[in-house]
């Protein structure tokens, strides 16, 4: 049982997001599995991450990459067995790596037995486990999320001759959280995995749990009641375990998900991510500073989760129309790269495989207030394949080496769950772990160093942030502070060298110690502190009064 500060482990975690299917295939069937993931834990430990977030691995028809769960109490047979999962979990814990698993609360697969029973008869006890209607007119003011594929949030069920509610794909009927039996069953599911030893849950699509007429059916008070109930049970029975909210909302709308330290421990900061890309392309700190200044304070035990890329499209829901148009033109000029309201690309291709920009973005990710998430493969600069459909292009096999199947699997290439990236720039022969491990100057080695520096201080995970306002708008500078420890972060968002004058008079007399090379920079005096920066360069300085 975690006690004391260790209960807040997520505040200083560095999370690695991975789908078991994509990482390493131990049995040669072309699909990654838990035994394979366990075999690669040394790699992750060496990288320096201390938490893994696993995408859904439950039995599923896999029509939405596992977010359509058909059995909450087991492991999809392609990935191994429950025992394989337990072995992996213990091995991770042995290495000081915590494991966060996905929990899809909002909906199930239409192949889940609960739904099959629910649709089977209007009198069935599980009929009210889902949201049914005689017409498709209720909740008209609710937006459609998957606009590329869905015309309505209602789908007609020919079996029970009624409409059922779904916020995502029509094969993912929403559970009815007004039904106490559903809430009880979901807690039972969570208890099952907590008893096995998982350290936390990433709760998927939480704003949509409850529906009410005349509302957007998002972020409703009734939804928060459900979530607080889960949190209370978690704290009572499993202290030190963590809940992470996936709620793609504006910061002000996200704040209630932290409650009074009685709802979520962490939540993704969705609006920040596109603005980091926007700021980089615009060479202007404005979008980043603005969104962080709009971000409300959260309770001290809570934390934002920050990310650059993940398994989904680079979502543009939380930007203005002008910003969205700009982002599309800037990062997805080719319309095949666009999906729903976002861009389905990985980090390196988004940044034109520009090492300096990749480093800068990771530097910002690791130095902003929150817990960073690294999406698997981005630490080596993997590419994507927009022709694979949906978001599968960013879910291709991990590239371990330049050999057979990129070292991912011994299976015939044709039997892999997904084709590997093959092009000369991002293909596994050019981009792979093995070759990057051999170079101290590879992106992988640099990421390892970055993570180590980040972990060398608690300031990044726990400290406050204060933005400096240098007149040069291409420079994003902020001071992170925790008690007496102060770190100055200066990022040049521009593709050209810049001079910037920082008003550091409040820290007169401090020395600046550059954290990567530990070199000493001149002492702060009365005059503006002049820094010259190379293109897309960034500095982390420890301020020391010596």
């Amino acid at each position: 049982m975690a006690t004391g500060p260790e209960r807040l482990w997520y505040k200083h975690a560095i999370i690695y997001q991975v789908h078991v299917r994509t990482f390493y295939d131990s049995n040669g069937d072309g699909i990654g599995d838990f035994a394979g993931l366990a075999a690669k834990l040394d790699y992750l430990q060496h990288l320096g991450i201390n938490a893994i977030w696993l995408m859904p691995f439950f039995p599923s028809p896999l029509r939405d990459d596992g977010y359509d769960i058909a059995d909450y109490y087991s492991v999809h047979q392609s990935y191994g067995s429950l025992d394989d999962f337990k072995l992996f979990l213990n091995a991770a814990h042995d290495r000081g790596i915590r494991v966060i698993i996905e929990m899809v609360l909002n909906h199930t697969s239409d192949q889940h037995p609960w739904f099959k029973e629910s649709r089977s008869s209007r009198e069935h006890p599980r009929r009210d486990w889902y949201v049914w209607s005689e017409t498709d007119t209720p909740y008209r003011s609710t937006r459609i999320i998957f606009v590329d594929t869905e015309m309505s949030n209602w789908a007609w069920d020919p079996v029970s001759k009624a409409y059922y509610w779904h916020r995502f794909f029509s094969h993912q009927p929403d559970l009815n959280y007004d039904n106490p039996a559903v809430r009880e069953e979901i807690w039972r599911v969570m208890k099952f995995w907590l008893d096995i030893g998982v350290d936390g849950f990433r709760l998927d699509a939480v704003p949509y749990l409850v529906e009410r007429e005349g509302t957007s059916c998002e972020n409703l008070p009734e939804t928060h009641v459900v979530l607080k109930e889960l949190r209370a049970r978690l704290d009572a029975e499993y202290p030190g375990r963590m809940l992470l909210a996936e709620a793609n909302q504006w910061p002000a709308d996200l704040r209630p998900y932290f409650g009074d330290e009685d709802e979520f421990h962490m939540a993704f900061h969705f609006p920040l991510m596109p603005r980091m890309f926007m700021g980089l392309k615009l060479e202007d700190r404005k979008p980043i500073v603005e969104i962080l200044q709009q971000t409300p304070e959260i309770p001290s035990s809570c934390q934002w989760c920050l990310f650059l890329r993940n398994h989904d499209e680079l979502t543009l829901e939380m930007v203005t129309d002008v910003e969205r148009d700009y982002m599309y033109d800037a990062y997805a000029h080719d319309k095949t790269m666009r999906l729903n309201v976002g861009i389905r690309r990985r980090l390196a291709p988004l940044l034109d495989d520009d090492r300096k920009r990749i480093e800068l973005m990771n530097g910002m990710l690791m130095s902003m207030p929150g817990t960073p998430i690294v999406y698997y493969g981005d630490e080596i600069g993997m590419g994507d394949n927009v022709f694979l459909g949906d978001r599968n292009g960013v879910r291709t096999p991990m590239q371990w080496s330049g050999g057979w199947n990129g070292g991912f699997s011994t299976a015939d290439p044709e039997s892999l769950y997904s084709p590997l990236i093959l092009n000369p720039v991002y293909g596994y022969q050019a981009i792979n772990v093995q070759s990057q491990q051999r170079s101290d100057h590879s992106l992988l080695s640099w990421m390892r160093h970055l993570i180590a520096v980040r972990k060398s201080t608690r300031v990044f995970g726990w400290g406050s942030i204060e933005f400096l306002q240098p007149a040069n708008h291409r420079v994003l500078a902020y001071l992170r502070q925790l008690e007496n420890e102060k770190i100055l972060v200066v990022n040049n968002l521009s593709n050209a060298a810049q001079a910037v004058e920082l008003d550091l008079r409040a820290y007169k007399g401090h020395l600046l110690i550059e954290m990567f090379g530990r070199n000493i920079f001149p002492r702060i005096g009365e005059l503006p502190y002049l820094l010259t920066m190379g293109p897309h360069q960034f500095y982390w300085f420890r301020l020391r009064k010596l």
Binding site: M278, L282, E283, D284, R285, K286, P287, E290, T320, V322, E323, Y326, P470, A471, N472, H473, R474, S494, A496, Q498, A499
Partner: protein, 423 residues
């Protein structure tokens, strides 16, 4: 002695923070505290609406204001509506500079050219600090350059019959006949220019070391653009936003006609071979002439013409041919009710003044000053002829005068090197 720089160190420091831009909007001020705030807001909103993605900066080029115009420009930039700022993708900079150099010369255009060159701007616009400036004016001045590849945008305003007569009776017809381009406001206070035009003009020291005075910088810009073959267009900006500040006619004549004469003298090869004139592309509707009442006292103007011709006889004798001088005297002697100043006489007079300026028959400044009373004679005729005229008639008379200037251009060439006729 060190060469004086165009941009002060303090201004360069501001520009370092701005960095490379796509667009510059400049607002020259000279004690415009009452209006500058509104202008800055209009510029900002215009940029937000029409150029949301472009990197832009507002440059306040202050010509020695003592009413805090520059500070008010800075404040107005900060005090924009929150929703407007929230919509903006980028940081917006407002920078201010004094355009009065060490020698006391006011040179906002040269300052702007240097700024555009340094910031590698693609398009620049100058808007007047008038309360009538609207966001759309910014777009009209910048869009032809930024989106259609023009190099110079000259303004067109909705004129009224008796507005801008120095331009309509003298400057425009002379410019049109000599340079062959029908730019109706070659002396506009509001205009746009491309980065490449700005860079070339800024680099040409010969243009900026001319002896003409500072306010004619815009005319110089227009003439240079035409001379160097850049693409020029006109845009209709609506009502003339600014009110010309009280300026003596002599001073205005020096700034405009003096500049024209200087350019004709400096590089005759650029204009002597040109015949006729060509219209230039126009964006927006053709402005209609308004019909506001006359606000000048024509009788007083006539009196000044009459006494001027009489008092300046010795000076005019050194500038004009005897025939022209005699016809002018006869014209001045006409009673007001029979007064006429034929276009042909006016054109010959202007051309003989230009040639005299070229040959420096007397002090060039005296030549320009001597043209003032004669211009008043033409002005008087225009006023009395058009008092009851409708817009179409006014336009037709202006066009006839322009054609007369073009028709007589061979005469200008003839007298330019004193090849007959001129004293």
């Amino acid at each position: 002695m060190a060469e004086e720089t165009v941009l002060s160190d303090e201004f360069v420091r501001q520009l370092m923070n701005v960095g490379e831009v796509d667009l510059i909007v400049a607002v020259p001020t000279a004690n415009d505290a009452k209006t500058i705030g509104g202008v800055v807001r209009a510029v900002r909103l215009g940029l937000l609406k029409c150029f949301p993605r472009e990197r832009a900066v507002l440059v306040n080029a202050d010509c020695g204001s003592r009413d805090g115009s520059a500070e008010l420009a800075r404040q107005a930039s900060i005090a924009l509506p929150a929703d407007a700022v929230a919509q903006a993708l980028r940081t917006f900079h407002t920078v201010t500079a004094s355009c009065v150099n060490g020698a006391g010369t006011k040179s906002p255009v040269r300052l702007l050219l240097a700024t555009a060159d340094l910031l590698r701007a693609k398009a620049c616009a100058v808007v007047s600090p008038s309360e009538d400036v609207t966001p759309s004016r910014v777009e009209r001045l910048l869009a032809p350059i930024y989106r259609q590849d023009f190099d110079l945008v000259a303004p067109l305003y909705k004129p009224h019959k008796f507005d801008g007569l120095l331009v309509r009776l003298l400057l425009y017809p002379l410019f049109r006949a000599t340079f062959g381009r029908r730019i109706r406001e070659p002396y506009g206070r509001e205009f746009g220019f491309s980065g490449r035009l700005g860079a070339e003009l800024f680099a040409r020291e010969d243009i900026w070391q001319a002896e003409v005075v500072e306010v004619a910088e815009t005319l110089r810009l227009t003439m240079s653009a035409v001379q160097f073959g850049y693409r020029v267009c006109e845009v209709f900006l609506g009502p003339r936003g600014y009110v010309e500040k009280p300026t003596e006619l002599v001073s205005a004549m020096r700034q405009t006609v003096g500049t024209m004469f200087h350019f004709l003298d400096a590089d005759p090869a650029q204009w002597q071979a040109i015949q006729g004139s060509e219209p230039i592309p126009r964006e927006g509707p053709e402005p209609e002439v308004g019909d506001e009442p006359l606000r000048m006292n024509p009788h007083r103007i006539h009196g000044m013409f009459h006494s001027g011709v009489s008092d300046l006889q010795p000076v005019l004798a050194s500038i004009l041919t005897p025939e022209t001088a005699a016809q002018l005297s006869a014209c001045a002697a006409l009673p007001r009710n029979l007064f006429r100043f034929p276009d042909a006489l006016w054109v010959r007079t202007v051309y003989e003044f230009a040639a005299a300026y070229h040959r420096s028959v007397i002090s060039r400044d005296h030549i320009i000053q001597a043209l003032v009373p004669i211009y008043r004679g033409k002005l008087y005729e225009f006023l009395i002829l058009n008092r009851q005229a409708n817009a179409g008639e006014v336009v037709a008379r202006n066009e006839a005068l322009c054609l007369e200037f073009e028709r007589h251009k061979p005469y200008l060439l003839q007298i330019w090197e004193n090849r007959g006729g001129a004293p």
